[in-house]
Symmetry: C2
Subunit: 385 residues, 2 copies
């Protein structure tokens, strides 16, 4: 695969965007990315989306959004891998440009969750789990994560409050992100008193849903120089791996083996190891996922994920800043769009555009997007060249 | 993109498969393709599916089916482009192998339409059209095609019976395809007396839905020799294009511009033109689509699509045999699987495995898969090397 670079990015605020339709939200992010990149006519469009058929009654988002953003007649397709749809679309675009099939691609992660012509959101999200063996038993998506968290606390002796620093960090960073859904700090006391959702997961362990879209334009790395003034942000690592879809089928439900494998491959492809990562946009859909992701990617020993947060090493300026723009927890989690928000945020850091939450001297950033309870995991590593 | 070859194929019968779940259907085709190819552990899995979230309550089919077919931990993802989902997944796999990201990929098109835990099939299929501007007005998918057909008949002076040869041909060929849904010949008289669905489309203009899966294993062309005895079936052309999602937005609703563009690009990539195509698996979801597809791909002049059929040139032995295994009309149309059935059938022809419906000396075959009413169109050209 030839080297690929991110030339432009765009995103919308994540919120309940009642006055915007799915196509308008996607279009807003797409047009921003086109303008940011200087590429007016990308050759292909890759959409990441999970819920539009269920919630909006709309399939075929490739042609649907190509039409809306003026990419008439261009190749366009949708990729779905539950909450990892955004990164999966990014990787599809990467392979299209990397293979030489096209010289530019627009990737858009988009989700419209709050006005709903079809299913309710909880049952729609449950389609990420195993319909026959999990959902049929009445397990919701939060329920599955609650079971994992409870087992983790039992196995390794952590208290619920030990997970608080993850959420506190994400909220602290989101304050400075104009696109974030929850731009407010939270305290340990608030975390402890927050309403229970599914024991032990409470409201402040869980990320908020929302409407939003994030987009990027990618081109072959060798073409960046033909766009004067654009920074060279290379995609140096990209990998995807899966695990059993049902959590109960895993040898060890406390180890995200797909996160382990996809990060391992991405590190190999980039030719680096963990210590060279300057910051990590991880998939904190629930606080337990932050701990498991850090462990699976080799940033913490098994069972020690919360330690990094308790030691204050995940903040801006710490050893491994995570969720520097607010993460899923506070920036928000418009499911199929999230993976693209992470990519956009990595690019923002590598360009040095993050002001109060800028990671000093950030050269290499990593993003990890998780579908289901760890069933599909994509890891990307980007580098400022 | 490095050259890619199809090494193995598999398919299930298309029917109401009440005793099989979606994962079992997909698994049956996948395992057949693995066995046929000799590739026991493909490196990546690409699923084409449209309706599973709506009808089966199941998303994330990549991980879901990877798990079921023993592709543990492997990269897996789903691609959706309405009824073109199958070919879109094939193209995604092609770019993955073609880019060098992997050395083998399994592509499975799968659909389970007849037992339904969610939406009814008609409203689920309507998600391929524009939810805001078409479906909202009460137009069903057949309805849109009926409007196109009526306009075509008015514009070019064809009678309804002039479309009969398309359906008669598909049914005649399906008789010899053990995987076909409707293995029975039909007559002109039956065609004319068939029950009306949406004027002028009657039951024998329309393809039957069904459950089914079709699969292929692809590898870099240079690796075929390491599988002794396997024929070299090269993918020499692959292209995708889109049109406006709403039919009313098109300059000319009677011209499938995305079919035109994707076939043009596929011809260019293959370095051939129309006259070198030995047979054509086209997307006869409705008989009108056969005519429009032939015209858009340059096999017939504008408004002359039915002529080729009336002149008996589309049968086995004719100038351009189409739907040699029964097409959507009689083999059946399990929507997200259809594109992969077409690929599998092209491979069968190129291998000379079609017995009664074998196209003599078939060396180059073409498949075209259409999503929506022409909104996403993929064209593939395969060649026996």
């Amino acid at each position: 695969m030839r080297p690929v670079a991110v030339l432009g990015i765009g995103q919308t605020i994540i919120d309940e965007l009642w006055d915007k339709s799915l196509r308008e939200i996607a279009g807003d992010a797409a047009i921003k990315a086109m303008q940011d990149s200087g590429v007016e006519h990308p050759e292909g469009l890759f959409i990441g989306n999970m819920l539009s058929p269920l919630i909006g009654g709309q399939n075929q988002l490739g042609a649907f959004i190509a039409d809306w953003v003026g990419m008439w007649q261009k190749e366009a397709v949708k990729t779905e891998a539950a909450c990892a749809s955004g990164a999966a679309a990014f990787r599809a675009g990467l392979m299209a440009v990397g293979s030489g099939e096209m010289d530019s691609a627009l990737i858009v992660g988009v989700e419209k969750m709050t006005d709903n012509v079809g299913h309710d959101v909880t049952s729609a999200l449950a389609t990420a789990a195993d319909a026959d063996y999990e959902v049929e038993q009445g397990v919701s998506f939060v329920g599955l994560n609650a079971l994992i968290m409870r087992r983790y606390m039992y196995e390794y002796g952590w208290k619920h409050a030990d997970f608080a620093p993850f959420s506190i960090n994400s909220h602290a960073n989101a304050v400075h992100n104009p696109f974030a859904r929850l731009r407010e700090k939270i305290t340990l006391q608030q975390f402890e008193k927050s309403a229970m959702v599914a024991t032990p997961i409470n409201l402040l362990d869980a990320s908020p849903i929302g409407d939003g879209a994030a987009a990027a334009i990618i081109v072959p790395a060798e073409k960046v120089n033909s766009f004067p003034g654009r920074p060279r942000i290379l995609v140096t690592g990209s990998a995807s791996a899966t695990d059993t879809i049902a959590v109960h089928s895993r040898k060890d439900p406390l180890f995200l083996s797909a996160a382990y494998l996809s990060s391992k491959r991405a590190f190999e492809m980039a030719g680096i190891d963990q210590c060279e990562i300057d910051f990590f946009e991880l998939h904190d859909a629930f606080s337990i996922m932050s701990a498991l992701s850090l462990e699976a990617c080799g940033f913490a020993y098994r069972g020690e994920g919360p330690r990094l947060a308790l030691d204050n090493e995940i903040r801006i300026g710490g050893k491994l800043p995570i969720c520097t723009r607010g993460g899923l927890k506070a920036r928000g989690h418009p499911v199929g769009a999230t993976g693209m928000y992470q990519i956009v945020e990595v690019v923002q850091q590598l360009r040095g555009e993050c002001e109060e939450t800028q990671v000093d001297g950030a050269k290499i950033g990593m993003a990890q997007n998780i579908g289901g309870s760890g069933a599909t995991v994509l890891t990307h590593i980007l580098k400022a060249d």
